[in-house]
Amino acid sequence: MNRVTRWFHQLGSPPYFDRFAARWAPWLYAVGALVMLWGIWQGLFVVPSDYQQGDSFRILYIHVPSAWMSMAVFGLMAVYAAIALIWRIKLCEILAMACAPIGAWFTLITLVTGSIWGKPMWGTWWDWDPRLTTELILLFLYLGVIGLYHAIDDRRTAARAAALLAIVGVVLLPIIRYSVVWWHSLHQGQTISLFGESKMDASMLPPLWAMVIGTHVWFGGSLLARARADNIRRESGKDWVSRLGREKPAQDASNEPASKGAR
C-alpha cells in the first residue's frame, strides 16, 4: 500500500489519532500564536493609519480573518460530515463536530468586531446589511448543529444527525445568502460597502496575510485538541485510554490548558 494511503488509514484509528493530535496540536498552537502575534504587532504599531478611517480600520486584522474562517470552517465541517455519512468513519464525525464550536466562535468574533467597527464608521452598531444578516444566520446554523449534537444521547446518532444538518446548511447557505441580498435591495436602496472603493494599500496587506495564516494554523491546533478530547471521551473505558492516563501523565497535563484556551 502507498505510504500516504496507509498513513491516512492509520489516522482513522482512535489511538493513532490520539497520538497524532497530542504531538501536533501544541506545535500548531505555538506557530499560530507566533504568526498572529507578529501580525497583530505589525497591524497595531507598524502599519500607517488610514487616511479616511484613521486608526479604526485596524480592527480588520481580526475581523477579516475570522470572517473568512467562519465560512471556511462551515465548508470543512460539511466535507467531514459528508465523509462521515458516506464512509461511516467515526473519526470524521468527531472532526466535523469539533469544527462547529470553533466556527461558531469565529462567527461571533466577526459579528462583534464588525459592530464595534460599525459604530464609529456607520454610526450604528447593527445594520441589516446582507453580509451582516448572512453572518448572523450562519451563527444560527452553527448553533443548530451544536444544539442537535448535544441534544441526542447516543453520541454516534447525534453526530450523524448533526452531520446531515451541516450538509443541508451548506446546500442552503448560497440560497440564504442570495435571498438576503434580494431582500436588502428590495427594502432599501442605500448600500454600504465594507471596504469602499478604496483599494487597500500594499503596506497594509502583509499583517493581514499573517493573521489569515495564523488563524488557519491556530484553527488546526484547536481542531486537533477538541477532536482529541471528544475522541478520548467516546473511547473512555477502552484499554488504550486507561493506559494513556497511567503512562504519560506529564504529557497529558501539558496539553490540557491548550484545549481550554481554545474555548
Binding site: 455519512l85 444560527f140 443548530g144 444544539g147 444527525a161 440560497i175 435571498s179 431582500w183
Partner: protein, 223 residues
C-alpha cells in the same frame, strides 16, 4: 403499489385527525392570537397596521407552522409506526412525502383559507390579497417540506422544544424573504412575481430533495 400505500397512509391520517378534529383548528387559532397581539402592540392606527400587515401575516403563518411541526412524526415514532415505515416495501421517502403533504393540507391549508379574514383584521389593502394568497400557497408547502427535515432530525428526542425552532428558522429565511418580499414588492408597485417564481422553483426542488433528506434523517434517528 406506491399509490395504494400513499392512499392508505393519507386515509389513516385523515381518519385519525377526524377523531380529534378540534386539533386541526389549532394553527389557525395560534395565528389569530399572534395577529391580535401584534395589533394590540402596534396600536389601532389603521395606516400603520396596513403597512406591516402582510409581513405580520407571513410571520404568523410561519410561527404556527413551526408549532405544528412537532406533530409531524412524533406520534408515529412513539408508537413504532416509523419502524414499520422503514420496513415497508415502498420507499421511506415516498411515505415521508405523503405524510408531509397530508400534514400541510390539514394544518396550513385551513390557515390559508382563513387568511382573508385575518387580513381584514389587519387592514390589509385588498389589492395585496391575491399576491399574499399566492405567496402563501407556494410558500407554506415549502415550509412544511423544510420542516419535515427538521422534524425528522429531532424525532429521536423525547422533547425537542426550542431546538426545532433553532434548526428550522435559518432554513425558513429564504422562504420568508421571497414570500413576504413578493407581497412587499407588489405593494410598492414593483413586479412581485420574481419572488413567486423563486418560491415555485424552491418548491419543485424541495418536493424531490426534502423527502429524501428527511428519510435519511429518520434512518439515522432510528438506527
Amino acid at each position: 403499489m406506491m399509490l395504494s400505500a400513499a392512499k392508505a397512509l393519507a386515509i389513516r391520517d385523515l381518519r385519525l385527525l377526524w377523531k380529534r378534529r378540534g386539533d386541526s383548528l389549532q394553527p389557525a387559532l395560534f395565528a389569530l392570537l399572534v395577529i391580535v397581539l401584534f395589533a394590540l402592540a402596534l396600536g389601532s392606527d389603521s395606516a400603520t397596521l396596513a403597512k406591516v400587515s402582510s409581513a405580520v401575516l407571513w410571520v404568523a403563518v410561519l410561527l404556527s407552522g413551526l408549532l405544528a411541526l412537532d406533530s409531524l412524526f412524533r406520534s408515529d415514532a412513539e408508537d413504532g409506526s416509523l419502524e414499520q415505515w422503514m420496513l415497508a416495501p415502498v420507499p421511506l421517502a415516498w411515505l415521508v412525502l405523503v405524510r408531509t403533504l397530508t400534514h400541510w393540507a390539514t394544518t396550513a391549508l385551513p390557515l390559508i383559507v382563513c387568511t382573508p379574514l385575518l387580513a381584514e383584521l389587519l387592514q390589509l389593502p385588498h389589492a395585496q390579497l391575491p399576491m399574499l394568497l399566492g405567496s402563501l400557497l407556494l410558500g407554506t408547502p415549502l415550509l412544511s417540506l423544510l420542516g419535515a427535515v427538521v422534524a425528522a432530525l429531532t424525532v429521536g428526542m423525547r422533547r425537542s422544544g426550542i431546538l426545532v425552532a433553532l434548526l428550522a428558522l435559518p432554513l425558513y429565511v429564504p422562504v420568508l424573504v421571497f414570500g413576504a418580499g413578493s407581497v412587499a414588492a407588489d405593494a410598492q408597485g414593483l413586479d412581485g412575481s420574481g419572488g413567486l417564481l423563486w418560491l415555485a422553483a424552491g418548491l419543485v426542488m424541495a418536493l424531490v430533495l426534502a423527502p429524501l433528506t428527511a428519510a435519511a434523517a429518520i434512518r439515522i434517528a432510528l438506527s
